[in-house]
């Protein structure tokens, strides 16, 4: 038998006969049938009061009754109330599903929800003699169940039943001699309710006789409860000695002590006295523990509330939120990254301060802060020890105002109604194609424009991302400005060429399959011709191919497919690419210029290297292996240049290498370059805020005066770290992000395996 099974068996046994002594029939009968005694009791009581205190019973007063399915209760039974009727004198009504509305000359009352109310009429004059506070009530009302509410302001009631409660929870004794007045507030409205448990006129218990539970408090003329409970450490089970119990009403009808502080050696036990019927929030706080809040509903005098309060050590995170100028930000929403709604958020106060109680204990988490006017911030890798409190400083990113136009075609026609998106913000261009967008200034904000059917999407994609022209602004509405125009010109080029067998014979009627390999997606096109067929001369022609892109061409004959090569359509022009179906091969090896050892080419880089037959446009891709070797296959004989394709060369620092490929004989070649080192960095600002979308940048010197700027956006992992590759000899890189001053990071002498800690300083605001 497992521990669980034992525990369940014990609990099962202990609860098997736990309720044997309980019989609910009487209560159910009371609630489902008017019991003779109960029906008569209020009327008798009312009559007694009336006869003892006043001689004159004013029975002539009438009440208009509006009822959907109400009952008129009489000593001999009950009859259905008509939809609208007038009743005089004393009466008892019952409401079923629908409320009964009762209108007198000076008050209106609604009896709702399975309620029963008995009315006994008194002379208004006589009532006034009794109490100056009474302004117009003329009925003695006893409510057995349901809710009775009065809508007239200032209405006072005589309430002889303990079951009658006002909205402050005041209860009134049932004995006529203890009759009290009940007065509505200035705004009007008294709610009288009974909890459906019949009268509870128990004799009062002397304090101490009952450790907890409900009792009749004669001095207040109301039911009160003593709430007992115990507070203990959830992990050790040991009682907590110093704690505070706060009792707060969860609805308007509840009243009692608002605060109850328990300190000293209590062995974890507490007793709070004087709580009325109703719903309560019981909050227990102890130093070093997360507060515990429970809802306690005291519905019947028989309730014996005993609260078991396990407290868990709470972690707490406090912090200050400031804007890019260092001014405190009020109203920033702070929560846990990815878990805002369910984990709870908090808001910074006028001094930018906040307290986040939902921080997980002893577990790394990301703090996310946002403000629509001041931007966002994320702090990854925070950790608060169990029961501890940490303080963080949060600098919001600021807001970037992006303005510009969206144009189409070479004539720059404005595009109206194009969707422009940045971060979570979006807007539509107006008739002049203009837009204005406010996006959080995080890393390098990417703005996209989407237009047309099917949608064409284009990203702001500055050539040099590090040089994005973000300007600091002096305006109060935003931190920085960026102007970005989109030109949705559909620039296309054409590919022509000839496919021939190794002996020069044309390849006729073969299908050519076109696939994009790099450079154009999300620019200004969605589709391109996917295939074509060679003619009788082995020639082909593909129009309307998006420019600024490279395409891989494959040859399909029957079920056979074979790669031909890749063509770069770097500008919108006609490119000729001829292919010869040959079986020649190049076998090569990348050699590091410093240590003369072979080094493996990073796969992404390998895709950007090709072998081009001198005098032609098409290039044949390299297949790079992990040991630093590579192959180029299925190529005709001739002289080849091995180099990076287009811009890719810049990040490779490879020596252009020429090789002669003889017919039917593999050739070996060494390509010199520099081994790439992969670095891992954590990029944060001075406050420890995690910088999104940082950019890595360095320059490479080629020969005497040729320098190439290499930039690469750096992706950020969940742990907040980023990786990037550099040539082994590179002395330093520049890490930067919009809104931050660039940081130079020395690489010489550093171990690539060690984490680079990069701190970016905010650019000074003008």
């Amino acid at each position: 038998m497992s521990d669980f099974e034992k525990a369940f068996a014990a609990l099962r046994a202990s609860t098997e006969d736990a309720m044997a002594a309980v019989d609910v029939s009487a209560a159910v009968m009371l609630r489902t049938r008017r019991r003779r005694a109960i029906r008569w009791l209020p009327l008798a009581a009312a009559a007694l009061i009336a006869m003892l205190v006043w001689r004159d019973l004013a029975l002539a007063r009438s009440v208009t009754i509006v009822a959907e399915d109400g009952w008129l209760v009489t000593p001999t039974g009950q009859t259905t109330l008509p939809r609208e009727s007038t009743l005089r004198g004393d009466f008892t009504v019952r409401s079923n599903e629908h409320p009964i509305i009762m209108r007198s000359s000076n008050w209106t009352a609604t009896l709702a929800g399975h309620g029963e109310a008995a009315f006994a009429w008194l002379s208004e004059d006589n009532v006034k003699k009794r109490s100056a506070a009474l302004t117009g009530a003329v009925a003695v009302i006893v409510v057995y169940a349901g809710v009775l509410s009065f809508s007239e302001p200032g209405v006072a009631l005589r309430a002889p039943a303990a079951a009658v409660l006002d909205r402050d929870g005041k209860a009134y004794p049932i004995a006529a001699s203890e009759a009290e007045n009940l007065t509505g507030g200035a705004e009007g409205g008294i709610t009288v309710r009974d909890r459906g448990h019949g009268p509870f006129d128990q004799p009062g218990n002397a304090a101490g006789e009952i450790p907890s539970g409900g009792y009749w408090d004669a001095s207040r003329g109301a039911v009160r409860f003593r709430l007992a409970g115990e507070v203990f450490d959830a992990s050790s089970g040991r009682p907590i000695d110093i704690f505070e119990v706060q009792v707060a009403p969860a609805d308007r009808a509840s009243s009692g002590p608002r605060n109850h502080r328990v300190t000293g050696a209590t062995d974890g036990h507490f007793l709070v006295d004087g709580i009325s019927l109703g719903a309560w929030h019981i909050t227990v706080r102890a130093a070093g523990y997360a507060p515990s809040r429970q809802l306690l509903t005291l519905a019947a005098v028989a309730d014996d509330p005993y609260l078991v309060v396990p407290l868990t050590s709470g972690a707490k995170l406090t912090g200050t939120v400031v804007d890019t100028r260092g001014e405190p930000v009020e109203g920033a929403e702070i929560g846990l990254g990815n878990c805002k709604a369910s984990c709870g958020t908090t808001t910074s106060d006028g001094k930018g301060n906040f307290v986040l109680k939902s921080a997980p204990e002893d577990t790394p988490f990301t703090l996310a802060a946002s403000h629509p006017r001041y931007g966002n911030a994320m702090l990854p890798n925070l950790r608060v020890a169990e029961g501890a409190t940490e303080h963080v400083h949060v600098v919001l990113s600021g807001i970037l105002k992006v303005t510009g136009h969206v144009y189409r075609g070479p004539e720059h026609a404005p595009v109206a109604g194009a969707l422009v998106k940045g971060g979570e913000a979006s807007t539509l261009t107006d008739d002049s194609g203009a837009y204005e967008l406010f996006v959080p200034l995080e890393g390098h904000p990417v703005v996209r424009v989407v237009t047309g059917t099917p949608p064409v999407e284009m990203e702001s994609y500055p050539e040099e991302r590090g040089a994005e022209p973000v300007r600091w602004a002096t305006a109060k509405t935003h931190t920085a400005e960026l102007n970005k125009d989109f030109f949705l010109a559909m620039e296309t080029g054409r590919l022509v060429g000839r496919i021939s067998e190794a002996d020069g014979a044309p390849v006729v009627g073969a299908r050519l399959l076109i696939a994009n390999t790099m450079g154009w997606s999300k620019r200004d096109h969605q589709t391109f011709p996917a295939e074509t067929t060679t003619d009788a001369g082995g020639r082909y022609r593909i129009d309307d191919l998006p420019a600024h892109a490279a395409y891989r061409i494959r040859l399909a004959r029957g079920d056979d497919e074979q790669p031909l090569g890749t063509v770069a359509l770097d500008t919108p022009r006609e490119v000729e690419a001829n292919f010869v179906l040959a079986t020649n091969e190049i076998h090569g090896r990348f050699i590091d210029v410093h240590d003369r050892e072979a080094f493996p080419m990073v796969q992404g880089m390998c895709d950007g290297i090709g072998a081009t037959r001198v005098g032609e446009d098409a290039f044949y891709p390299l297949k790079c292996q992990g040991d630093g070797t590579f192959e180029v296959e299925h190529i005709p004989a001739g002289r080849y240049r091995i180099a990076g394709i287009g811009n890719r060369l810049r990040s490779l620092k490879l020596a252009e290498t020429y090789v002669d490929v003889p017919a039917r004989a593999p050739v070996e070649v060494h390509v010199e370059g520099e081994r790439l080192l992969t670095w891992t960095a954590r990029v944060t600002d001075a406050a420890g805020n995690f910088v999104r979308e940082p950019v890595m940048r360095y320059e490479v010197q080629h020969g005497e005066n040729h320098r190439t700027l290499i930039t690469s956006s750096v992706s950020v992992s969940d742990e907040g770290t980023t990786t990037f590759s550099t040539p082994a000899s590179l002395p330093e890189v520049v890490i930067e992000a919009s809104g931050y001053a660039p940081a130079r990071v020395q690489l010489v002498g550093r171990d690539p395996k060690a984490l680079l800690d990069v701190r970016l300083a905010r650019e000074p605001t003008p």
Binding site: A7, A18, V24, S25, T32, G196
Partner: protein, 191 residues
């Protein structure tokens, strides 16, 4: 016999006890009288079934007072629904379904209490068992109502998965996965 076996399952009783099981439809159940609005019929039905409903509610809520409260509601609900209730010899099951529904609704709104009376009642028993039962009540109190639901039905009411599926109206597979998750949750909070 088949039906009795099922009903017996609902009650979580042994075969010997099944004869006395108030969850079985008692021959005293006067559904026709109930439908006619006769209070005598209601009183008899309460007498026959209230212990099972009370016990179920006690196990759900952890409080005898709340259980009494909810049990009253169950029978008042039966009374109010007397016109539409169709007697198919499954009154006990019908009441249990109402009771479960009311208890879950209560737990969602108010959470669960751990009653002190577990200790008191087990005073004659071994002290260990009392502590164990109380620990379990505390642990159950920390669970989400839907998790406590299946654990109460399976391990305290001792229903089979099939019976739970019938009572709750969800597929058996769902009951099993809920049980699995609930046990995992319980393991996290049980000392």
């Amino acid at each position: 016999m088949e039906r009795f076996a099922v009903l017996r399952g609902y009650c979580g009783m042994t075969a010997a006890l099944a004869r006395l099981d108030p969850m079985n439809d008692s021959p005293d159940d006067d559904a026709a009288g109930l439908a006619r609005g006769e209070h005598g019929a209601l009183r008899a039905i309460i007498g026959n079934h209230q212990q099972a409903v009370l016990r179920l509610c006690r196990r759900y809520t952890g409080s005898a007072a709340i259980a009494a409260e909810l049990t009253q509601d169950v029978f008042v609900a039966l009374w109010e629904a007397r016109a539409s209730y169709r007697h198919e010899g499954k009154l006990g099951r019908y009441l249990l379904a109402i009771a479960r529904h009311r208890c879950l609704r209560y737990l969602e709104r108010n959470g669960r209490f751990v009653a002190l009376d577990v200790d008191v009642r087990l005073a004659g028993d071994s002290a260990d068992a009392g502590a164990v039962a109380r620990d379990l009540e505390r642990a159950l109190a920390k669970l989400a109502p839907e998790h406590a639901d299946v654990l109460v039905l399976r391990h305290l009411e001792e229903m089979s998965v099939q019976e739970i599926a019938e009572l709750t109206g969800v597929p058996e597979g769902t009951v099993k996965s809920r049980l699995h998750r609930a046990a995992a949750e319980l393991r996290k909070v049980y000392p």
